[in-house]
Symmetry: D3
Subunit: 294 residues, 6 copies
Amino acid sequence: MVSLRAEGLVRLGTSFRSSIAGAESNVAIGLSRLGHSVRWLGRVGADEPGELVLRTLRAEGVEVSTVERDDAAPTGLILFEQRLPDVTRVQYHRSGSAGSRLSAADVVLDGDVRLLHLTGITPALGDGPREAVERAVARARELGATVSFDVNHRARLWSAADAAPVLTPLARRADVVIGSGDELDLVGGVNALLTAGVREVVTKLGADGAAVSTPDGEQRAPGHRVPVADSVGAGDAFTAGYLSALLDGLGPAERLARGNRAGAFAVATAGDWEGLPTRAELELLALGEGAALR
Amino acid sequence: MVSLRAEGLVRLGTSFRSSIAGAESNVAIGLSRLGHSVRWLGRVGADEPGELVLRTLRAEGVEVSTVERDDAAPTGLILFEQRLPDVTRVQYHRSGSAGSRLSAADVVLDGDVRLLHLTGITPALGDGPREAVERAVARARELGATVSFDVNHRARLWSAADAAPVLTPLARRADVVIGSGDELDLVGGVNALLTAGVREVVTKLGADGAAVSTPDGEQRAPGHRVPVADSVGAGDAFTAGYLSALLDGLGPAERLARGNRAGAFAVATAGDWEGLPTRAELELLALGEGAALR
Amino acid sequence: MVSLRAEGLVRLGTSFRSSIAGAESNVAIGLSRLGHSVRWLGRVGADEPGELVLRTLRAEGVEVSTVERDDAAPTGLILFEQRLPDVTRVQYHRSGSAGSRLSAADVVLDGDVRLLHLTGITPALGDGPREAVERAVARARELGATVSFDVNHRARLWSAADAAPVLTPLARRADVVIGSGDELDLVGGVNALLTAGVREVVTKLGADGAAVSTPDGEQRAPGHRVPVADSVGAGDAFTAGYLSALLDGLGPAERLARGNRAGAFAVATAGDWEGLPTRAELELLALGEGAALR
Amino acid sequence: MVSLRAEGLVRLGTSFRSSIAGAESNVAIGLSRLGHSVRWLGRVGADEPGELVLRTLRAEGVEVSTVERDDAAPTGLILFEQRLPDVTRVQYHRSGSAGSRLSAADVVLDGDVRLLHLTGITPALGDGPREAVERAVARARELGATVSFDVNHRARLWSAADAAPVLTPLARRADVVIGSGDELDLVGGVNALLTAGVREVVTKLGADGAAVSTPDGEQRAPGHRVPVADSVGAGDAFTAGYLSALLDGLGPAERLARGNRAGAFAVATAGDWEGLPTRAELELLALGEGAALR
Amino acid sequence: MVSLRAEGLVRLGTSFRSSIAGAESNVAIGLSRLGHSVRWLGRVGADEPGELVLRTLRAEGVEVSTVERDDAAPTGLILFEQRLPDVTRVQYHRSGSAGSRLSAADVVLDGDVRLLHLTGITPALGDGPREAVERAVARARELGATVSFDVNHRARLWSAADAAPVLTPLARRADVVIGSGDELDLVGGVNALLTAGVREVVTKLGADGAAVSTPDGEQRAPGHRVPVADSVGAGDAFTAGYLSALLDGLGPAERLARGNRAGAFAVATAGDWEGLPTRAELELLALGEGAALR
Amino acid sequence: MVSLRAEGLVRLGTSFRSSIAGAESNVAIGLSRLGHSVRWLGRVGADEPGELVLRTLRAEGVEVSTVERDDAAPTGLILFEQRLPDVTRVQYHRSGSAGSRLSAADVVLDGDVRLLHLTGITPALGDGPREAVERAVARARELGATVSFDVNHRARLWSAADAAPVLTPLARRADVVIGSGDELDLVGGVNALLTAGVREVVTKLGADGAAVSTPDGEQRAPGHRVPVADSVGAGDAFTAGYLSALLDGLGPAERLARGNRAGAFAVATAGDWEGLPTRAELELLALGEGAALR
């Protein structure tokens, strides 16, 4: 999806900055910056906004060679307007977009795949996307990959009542489930998930950090206090940091710590994904000193 | 419709300037600036882009008090990218928009209406808009108003083959038909239109000016040569100038002259309608001297 | 008046953003956005800055059809420079401006007028404006309209000593008097005003909210704590919110609450009036969630 | 004077870039860039716009240590709007400005002065400025300096009929008179000026170059054809180039050539004076090749 | 290399837009956009400007996985200032940069390489780069790849006298030599090159198009006349177009035509490489019509 | 040195704003704005960036007539990127720059010099700059001027181990030594400096203010709490304020107070030196009210 972010108020005829948006692409970029090999499975229009999506992902080292460029549907748009410091208004131009035409055939998963990350946004887009998610989970299972799932309930796409019956079984089939407290409740709650066999359930607590629950109990880690430039994308940054540490074989405390650290970078920088840290940059958060421009 | 005009190339992640777009609103603004009382019949979403449309039209003195703000559909978007000096790429996000849900009920035409202006874009948007056009023509006839029709064939909305059977009968019912040579051919050609009872047929010749054909013969007037800042909207500017002179009771030569003059303003200024002249400014074209900032 | 707001420091050769300024137009826009029918009585030059004033007010739905466009005097300018986070420097280019030539003849007050709002700035501009104010009060009385008066003492236009003898009798003739503590003292103090027959006296307390005194006693309401983007216009926003609730027939507590709420919007947004809330937006202040872009 | 140049159309609420403006300061900067020692005699407000004037002139190496900073009057403003490619609208906020309060006491002329340059704008500003000009001419005569005079008739400040009786005697007392054909006619015409004892009369011919008439006859030099970025200031650039060559002791052909060359730089660059050439840069006009950034 | 392009005049304290620059990367991007698989051989600093180079090339689909990120030297900078419409000033901050430390070890050429493209800039940067070029030619010969060489004499890096003895033997070893008339003379002239065994010698004629000489004679093709936005990079665009057609197995006339067409895109767009055409866009040049935003 | 400050993240291809940078020029501008006569001793390239340095210093009233413009070396560059709110990345392009070629011959110190200010940056640039510093101290001693020395250890230029043996003897020869606690330790510590004959040692404590130690004891003054726009240059602002009060003959408490006040201005404004206060502006810090734009 291409995002258009209003610099002032929309009704006054402001300018818009463009970028790309999407919880999955945010996580993909976050993991790539942290040094992992990542492929994005998605669908864009065969148009210039679609080129922006692909150029950006390629720039960030995310593999997009299998992405379909749909000749028959435009790349979706999302408009953002910061109405008040803590009120961002969002408008989707996504119905009929290429992304909503994602299908099982778009799921190309081969070779040495260690992790499949899914979000609860994809199934909200229609039957095709829902089948693509099914296919991806099945394929991940065949390849022995870990499946992580971020609930990401988007109230503007579907109600909790509509989402719950779709997302709950999906969450139960995942190894790692991530969400806010409300979102985790929407898919049955932490305990039910663990009982259903989910390996770890991660609760995002916003500025208060995060917690992870496993059959062995809960661990909690506080967030970093940084000036808020733009909180959009902070959850995805956390997820990328958490999954990166997971892929590195680190324990729960280090996983939460890296997640919180990545989240702080996202919050302290304008843009959804632009401020995500590289592995070397993770250290800057504590540093606060004029390091080299490198 | 809200327009988003890329400042650079879309695939490179540029900024976009927003404004409003639409052949009918361009003509409405042009007539209002030239001193006429104008009402715009249309439909916008009950959203901030819709507010931009209404605020802009109100600012320009165009009456919008009867415009429906549709709670169930967003205001349409149009994206522009200047790929080469003479190649502008256009993408509509208009399907399912409020504008495409225009219906006969939106046509509020009362009181002292002297002119109804229609374009061939509206019927391209669906059955509702087509009925709205029908209703408007019928109502104009009841009120004794002149009906002008700008063919405005938009190839990205429908093919010539699809458009011809819809637009031709519409054109034949108008008093004034305006179009490029190709467009006039699409609705049967100048002669057939005159034969069918159209009072005057105006051919837009781009930089070469324009011509008007009546049963009495053809008159032609050359265009002004100005540096091209942005040719989008030039045709609508011409139409506004032409119709303004018509409303003032001027003859064909003066109608063409005012149309060409208004067109030159549009071409010489960035934006579709932003540079349209007020009545006082019409004189500036020849002047070229440092007039007062007023 | 047209405002030119320096983006950096003036002496360094910065850019300026333009908008319109004026306590009365701020209140007018605030009331219009809250759904009331408003007319602005003023005077602008027959120049492009004057067009900016009129276009903006029309865009905001404020009636300006009776505003005189003065051919013999320019629209006034006001320059702003943010020198320090809490020091804004102001320079008027207002002497000899159209606004300073306002006269009793410009006061067109007819029909169903429920409220006349005046400020202490107008009488500072000269004899003509002072007569216009006199005429407006007289006319409001004839029409049975409530008269509200915001003291708005501008030290850069006249000293407290010069202002007091002019503003005090004016305040005493009003039904509602609004001002900071200092300003209310300048016109005799809360008690004296009540004694003189003023129905309600409202004290603006900045970030601490506001209080209203009536013969029945005082009520106080705390302000909203929001990040400060630009405090210019906050007082006018409060006034608009207060008067809106008054027109809706609400009690003192609701009047103060809506005033404080509108003030918070103004403070949290760049621009004097740009961030003023619509009636629907009033609820956003507590919301803090990604609502639709509408 | 501080100039505010609209980036778009004023009525649409555009941004303004600030700089300094004034025929005399343009010539002063032009001469300084060409390597001459220059002092500017003027008056600014004791305000930030005044600081911008002084900072800019100092940056350009123009001596301003004797300039009065007027505590009682603001620095004048001039607004520019490019309405059409060849129509620039101008609005002065200059009445009552510090510059209009220039007086004979501001004229500090001492030491080794070789040239005094005057324009016909100063006497248009009032009695004080007129006396300042008188004083300057008298003082230049005492010091044995050449007096150059650019007619610079500004129709927005005074009519030709008002200007002629003031400017004609002034022109006759100068050694070098510069103007367009119309301006030279306003002060009596080339022949009358030569008869009155003027040493050389220079006619600016715009894009066609310039001509100089002396008792020995006329010489003419064609202008450079360059793309027009901004023609404001071209005449002052020409004057600076011409006077620079005069101070270097060059003949009429070289004087015209340097004037035309400097004029071409001004025309090809945005801004009134920003593009004026240094002595080394004069050669670039023919060069057209990627020289060093120096 | 990272380019910093002044938006105004450097001495006035302007802003700079950043991008990447380099004849080789321009050609690489051009070929990639035209659908070919391209690898860039170069060296950047392990700093953020270096990341900009790599991100941009990856975005454009150019393979950079073998590029060394030098921890001990910064990425080079190049500053541009447009002093006059046809005078661009250039300043390198390139001595000691990572790029100047390129060495034979950086040349990774394996697998199915059909073409190696070299420029005369690389050998100007020092002994290491010169050895890298030698190594690349040797390796290309082993792989049976065509070698193309663009003379690209940069007078700011070395004089013609210094360049000739280095570039001439290099040119003679190439299969395709490209340059302006002057550059081709610097390496011995068209005839000497053909005699030495060069298969085709291409003369870039700027706006006049280009010519190709082979042992069979000369063919010439005129350039496209387009408004000049920025002529930097036009030669590289031509080279990319020419080589693309060569790789497609097209004859000389089509090679020149595609080169000229690509050059026209570069000239008509701001930026060195930003406007290079995709294969589908090549057709737009003749089209001039509002195509889809895709 | 010319500074280029990234507006966003460098790797994303952002814009850069240019200005001048340098601890000595910051102090020079600070002293000039506070009303002192100041000369800057330095060296710039004979290029446009060098012109920016000279124009800026002249604009600020700093005397630069003796500054050498080096034809053989470019003006140095410094790039800044704000990576996180409190992490600014810095990259120098300074090796081989004109500034690093400063030599004793560039030190022109004559007439009535009351104070020589040096920093520990200059000796880090090479042997020539080190000799220039030696020469300056010797010359100051001959002229009876006070010598102040700001340790200014720049870890990116040299390590503490390398810097200590060079800076310690220099600090001991000064009358006033200024630095952070760490920096003062690097040159031997407060007590050792006082023992060595330094008259006063000033410790910069950042947001906590500053302290001055003399043989008579220590005084401390708290800093002002202002919103942080940009902390770069705050130390130099402090130094300028402190030295200004010293030149005015004020006591330690007033010296610290003016230093802290100047530092607060620097912190509260974007840019290294742009926000430095004039003498009149010093009072604004407490004021917080809309003063005149002057």
